[in-house]
């Protein structure tokens, strides 16, 4: 057993946790913003997948990682916009529309990818990393955490920015009120529909970047259905984090570690059946839900359409 915990193994475990965790974190962060405003965003899986597809496509054609991430964000927005239109402006069911958008994005990306690349899965070149001087030379965690593509640092920064917006800005208060008591927000002269629209579009942008992270950095290729439930894990993260962005980060890294353990354990040649190892992340989700599910608190107005004057 002691041979298992070599430096190489630990480094790959932490690295894997980060690589798998960042997209989950972006999804969870995005979902948290929507949920805070009272929108249960089930379409987030579709937003991620479309972001993964468009991000890959842009990066493939332009050769620019940054444009790829921008494309990913726009891809997420393209799925979030109909969600905002149907659910927030028109008041249709957030659950039905969310499922429809996810299924639609799955079908559309698979189809488009098939037309463009047939059965070939072109690869993107490896993304350059930015080593932070000093920190990156710490053993084990140095190379895993501080010698990463710059987008990783930006994503972690997004957590801090979100926390700041939640706590320190009028928009943060408006988000909270939109999910808790939209009528009070309306009475204070703030347009509930606008607040929720901005929230959903932000979710789409963040989820899209998360998707692009999976295709550009995690895999380097695009494969249909490649987000594989990451958006849904993001929903779980957002619910468990109870409105706190830093908890999303911690949870995402935990889930990421579970996901990466599947690879790391296989690399280390542990004699556990692969199927069991691959169950690990989902077992972790279940465990977390069983342990903390009761304490998850959701905004009272979650999933409901706001109609002025109706009580």
């Amino acid at each position: 057993m002691s041979a298992l915990f070599t430096q190489a193994f630990l480094t790959s475990l932490v690295l894997g946790a980060l690589t798998a965790g960042i997209p989950l974190m972006l999804a969870g962060l995005g979902e948290q913003i929507s949920e805070k405003a009272g929108v249960l965003n089930i379409g987030i899986e579709g937003m991620m997948l479309f972001g993964a597809y468009l991000g890959f496509l842009v990066a493939y054609h332009t050769g620019s990682v940054w444009l790829g991430f921008l494309g990913g964000g726009v891809g997420g927005l393209m799925v979030a916009a109909p969600m905002a239109l149907f659910c927030i402006r028109m008041g249709l069911s957030q659950i039905v529309i969310g499922i429809a958008l996810t299924l639609g994005a799955e079908g559309l990306t698979a189809l488009l990818h098939h037309f463009q690349f047939a059965q070939s899965y072109p690869r993107l070149p490896a993304v350059e990393t930015l080593a932070i001087p000093g920190l990156s030379s710490i053993p084990v965690i140095g190379p895993a955490l501080f010698d990463r593509p710059p987008i990783v640092y930006l994503a972690v920064l997004a957590v801090a920015v979100t926390a700041y917006v939640f706590r320190r800005t009028q928009f943060g208060l408006a988000l909270q009120a939109a999910g808790d008591k939209p009528a009070a927000l309306d009475a204070a002269g703030v347009d509930v529909v606008r607040v929720r629209t901005v929230a959903v579009l932000t979710t789409g942008f963040l989820a899209g970047i998360g998707g692009a992270f999976i295709s550009q950095i995690g895999a380097g290729i695009f494969v249909p259905f490649m987000t594989n439930g990451a958006g849904f894990i993001g929903i779980v993260l957002a619910m468990q984090a109870r409105g706190r962005p830093f908890w999303v980060l911690c949870g995402a890294l935990l889930f990421g570690a579970c996901l990466s353990a599947t690879t790391a354990l296989q690399v280390a040649g542990v004699s556990i059946p692969t199927d069991i190892i691959q169950m690990l992340p989902f077992a972790a989700v279940l465990t977390v839900l069983v342990l903390f599910g009761r304490r998850a608190s959701l905004p009272p107005a979650l999933g409901t359409h706001y109609v002025r004057g109706a009580r």
Partner: protein
């Protein structure tokens, strides 16, 4: 947000701050307010008193910007204005505290008050807290500005809303049914706060249907009845009358003593008490945060109708639900035909013949989307002969439904029609059919004619009479004094969770019931 501070009491002005000048407001089929005039003077608590449906909410809606009058005008400081929105009302200095809180529970008090600035600006928490502290000091309340609203009591939340209204420069404060959700202590505190507000020259409109609160907190009392203003008692007169005489006057205004009853209605029944009591209630108590019910003793003989009068919200609902088995008893005994039933559940009590006709016809009484046939069996689902081995016996259900529909004259296209599509009167008939059929021995009617039209009111009252004639023990809960006096053999009066007296329904029952209802003699 304009912050007008209200520190020094203004000089007494010779004219009212706000006047409603003969306003009329019609809704489809109803005249909610008919030529009502209403003056609001600075430094006064003006109580708006009336039963449910008297037009209080409509009148207040026109002040707070929710509704515009169809006729008549609104004057502020003698100038005619149009209050088209709540925001406009606030600009004009009229703040409203609605019955249901308009605060965000998950935000702190200051954040609630700071809500609504530019999106990317920082909420000015320190500034808000400072201004809040100043207003709080003026009106003598203590609120922790950083407490989460959700952790405050309902009374404290109301204080927050009052402070917020004052911070926005309100000179007029409307408190809509403000004590309805409060504990007795909370209501007292609110009364004291209203007193302090008027000392600052603020005009308060206090809407209530509780007479004792009107007398305790009000300086001027306006009584509405069926959309009309039936009387106003000015401060000097109120002081001169004293509580007892004022109560008598208000009861007369609210319930219209001596108004000739419908001539076709049969004379009051009396003296039918015979035999041992069938339904006995002993020291019944119910825990309830708003109206705790305690010490209820009541017994009803077969064939007797005991009316339970009282102003709405004095524990009648809690009492009825506890009796029917829908609420836990805190203490006490209920016996039906000598058998103790207080430990039985709803089904057990029903089986032994206790029936409850709820006033919440579409909420707890029926399932609106279910057909009439099933609604008629809602409390017997799974019982033979209508269900066997868990399977529906459609023939038995249909036969049962057809029989009751014709027997109780339910006007419906068919027995498979969803009950929610019927009129209120027909839903009530179906409910009566369900509760009065079978082996009923004692029935509780909760506001049985509330919201019905004249014809259905008459039909329902006839059913209640028939039920008693068949030897059932009847408890009739009603806020309509006329109805209670028309039907009952005896009248019990409920006030603040207690039965404050039981009187025989004889010639001077009306005045004695009125006195008891006011709570003054309690």
């Amino acid at each position: 947000m304009t912050q007008i501070h209200t520190s020094s009491p203004p000089q007494a002005e010779p004219r009212p701050i706000v006047s409603l000048d003969h306003v009329t407001k019609r809704f489809p089929g109803v005249v909610a307010n008919e030529r009502v005039s209403f003056d609001l003077w600075p430094g006064e608590v003006h109580v708006l008193l009336g039963e449910n449906g008297a037009g209080k909410s409509t009148l207040v809606g026109m002040l707070s910007g929710l509704q515009l009058p169809d006729e008549g005008g609104v004057l502020i400081d003698g100038r005619e204005v149009r209050i088209a929105s709540p925001a406009r009302a606030l600009e004009l200095g009229i703040g409203t505290v609605f019955q249901h809180s308009m605060l965000v529970p998950s935000l702190s008090v200051v954040d609630n008050m700071a809500l609504g600035g530019k999106w990317w600006s920082r909420p000015d928490r320190d500034g808000v807290a400072r201004r809040m502290a100043a207003v709080c000091a003026d009106i003598g309340v203590t609120i922790d500005p950083h407490a989460k609203v959700g952790s405050l009591s309902l009374g404290e939340q109301q204080q927050v809303e009052i402070v917020r209204a004052l911070m926005r420069g309100s000179r007029v404060l409307i408190l809509d049914e403000a004590t309805a959700m409060l504990t007795p202590k909370g209501a007292e505190d609110l009364g004291a706060l209203m007193g302090r507000l008027t000392k600052l020259g603020i005009a308060v409109v206090f809407i209530t249907h509780k007479l004792n609160e009107a007398l305790a907190f009000g300086h001027r009392i306006t009584v509405l009845r069926l959309g009309r203003k039936v009387g106003e008692i000015a401060p000097e007169r109120l002081a001169a009358l004293g509580p007892a005489a004022a109560t008598a006057e208000i009861v007369r205004l609210m319930f219209g003593a001596g108004v000739a009853t419908d001539e076709t209605a049969p004379a009051p029944r009396r003296g039918r008490r015979a035999g041992a009591p069938l339904l006995e209630i002993e020291a019944l108590a119910v825990d309830d945060p708003s109206v705790p019910v305690a010490g209820i003793n009541l017994s009803v003989s077969p064939g007797e109708i005991v009316g339970l009068a009282g102003i709405d919200g004095n524990g009648q609902k809690q009492f009825a639900e506890a009796l029917a088995g829908q609420r836990r008893l805190a203490a006490g005994h209920i016996r039906l035909g000598g058998e103790a039933i207080e430990r039985l559940d709803v089904g057990g009590r029903r089986q032994r013949g206790l029936r409850y006709v709820t006033d919440d016809r579409l909420g707890e009484g029926t399932v609106g989307s279910f057909p009439i046939s099933l609604n008629l069996l809602l409390k017997q689902v799974g019982e033979a002969p209508f269900w066997r081995h868990g399977l529906e016996q459609s023939d038995a259900i249909a036969t049962h439904a057809r029989r009751l529909v014709s027997e109780f004259d339910v006007r419906t296209p068919g027995i498979e029609t969803a009950i929610g599509k019927l009129s209120g009167g027909n839903i009530q008939k179906a409910l009566l059919a369900r509760e009065l059929s079978g082996a009923a021995r004692a029935v509780i009617f909760a506001k049985p004619t509330y919201g019905l039209d004249v014809q259905n009111i008459r039909a329902t009252r006839q059913r209640i009479r028939e039920a008693a004639e068949q030897g059932l023990a009847v408890i009739l809960i009603s806020t309509d004094l006329e109805e209670v006096l028309e039907l009952s053999d005896r009248v019990a009066v409920m006030s603040r969770g207690h039965i404050v007296g039981v009187v025989d329904n004889d010639a001077d029952a009306r005045s004695r019931v009125g006195e008891l209802m006011s709570g003054v003699t309690a």
